[in-house]
Amino acid sequence: MQVTSVGLLERMKDPEAHGAWEEFYQAYWAVIVRYAQKQGLDETTAHDVLQETMVALMRALPQFRYDPQRGKFRNFLLTIVHRKAMAAKRRVGARLQVPLDAPTHEGGLSPAERLADEQSPLPSKIIENQWLESIQEEALRRVREDPAIQGRTWEVFRAYVINQASPAEVARQFGIAENAVYQIKNRMVRRLREEVKRLTKEAEVAA
């Protein structure tokens, strides 16, 4: 996966540079879909949010000028994604005719509160945490599906870190030395951190 640089964001501002936003799309589509699903949307509606976010970026980026006082590109992106998700949620709510003051199970926000939230200037801490979670989840999937990582390596990692078996037990189960179990764990955790950092960095860069 490519790391977005200032160059990519600059190229995305050029409406003719289709390759630039396609690179961005490839890097971020799943993160945006995951974030939208965290807001309580189904997968189909989450893809609508993805579509609307990309179209909003196509329209907005040619005029985008970085202003340090307004924060990073990530804030700009997350504001778009969040508002699109809230607008989609409102549309779904309107179809279901939910009373405007009815509380919801996601975060306890009523539709009226969500409407106000749609136009909030910048994402709150909760929203930022949900975005970070979406990035972590996508990073985990990428590591798990990385063809360079053997299925057995993942299974050792799963047995030791996720299922919390003892190193001796895992070593016995997979026929490897205990020291190899520690090495696999360290390697996988390092790889996960790198992937999270890469994905986070993509949108940290100021345009």
């Binding site: 699903q37 609307e52 989840e137 985990l140 996720i162």
Partner: protein
């Protein structure tokens, strides 16, 4: 650390997109949308339809509250040479609860993002196909971020 990863794994499975096909289809539609937006230049606010004319120029029509597309008047947007269009083919109505497209019992049908529809709410960037025409539906809603253009 293990709890954190275990938690992340559980969440990952809950939010994992079930397939990459939909994302690929969307990407191919977005390529067309991007090209049309690039040709159109600066766009106005509010709901609008963008389409390629016979001369391969990009045209833009504002929708207002309602727009009917067809082959003959009294349709608002008329493509007289398109024999695959019905006289009144589809209608878009824009309101506070969303922007809705409705097929007006056309002979050849109306498709949104390749799916045949009778009526549905539109999203920003949807592709509408009717007759030989392809339209991009755009709307800049209240939730859209205004950029800090200088």
């Amino acid at each position: 650390m293990s709890n954190e990863i275990e938690d992340c794994l559980r969440r990952e499975e809950a939010t994992r997109p079930s397939s990459t096909d939909r994302a690929r289809e969307l990407l191919s539609r977005l390529r067309y949308v991007a090209a049309v937006i690039a040709d159109a230049g600066l766009l106005a606010d509010g709901p609008q339809l963008l389409y390629r004319t016979a001369a391969n120029k990009t045209a833009c029509v504002k929708i207002g509250q309602e727009l009917v597309v067809g082959r003959q008047k009294p349709a608002d947007l008329v493509f007289a040479d398109d024999r695959r269009l019905s006289r009144k083919h589809f209608r878009i109505c824009c309101g506070p609860d969303g922007d809705r497209i409705e097929d007006l019992r056309s002979h050849n049908g109306t498709r949104v993002n390749e799916a045949r529809i009778e009526s549905r709410l539109l999203c920003d960037g949807d592709l509408i196909e009717a007759g030989r025409q392809v339209f991009v539906f755009l709307r800049r809603g209240p939730e859209d971020v205004r950029v800090n253009a200088k």
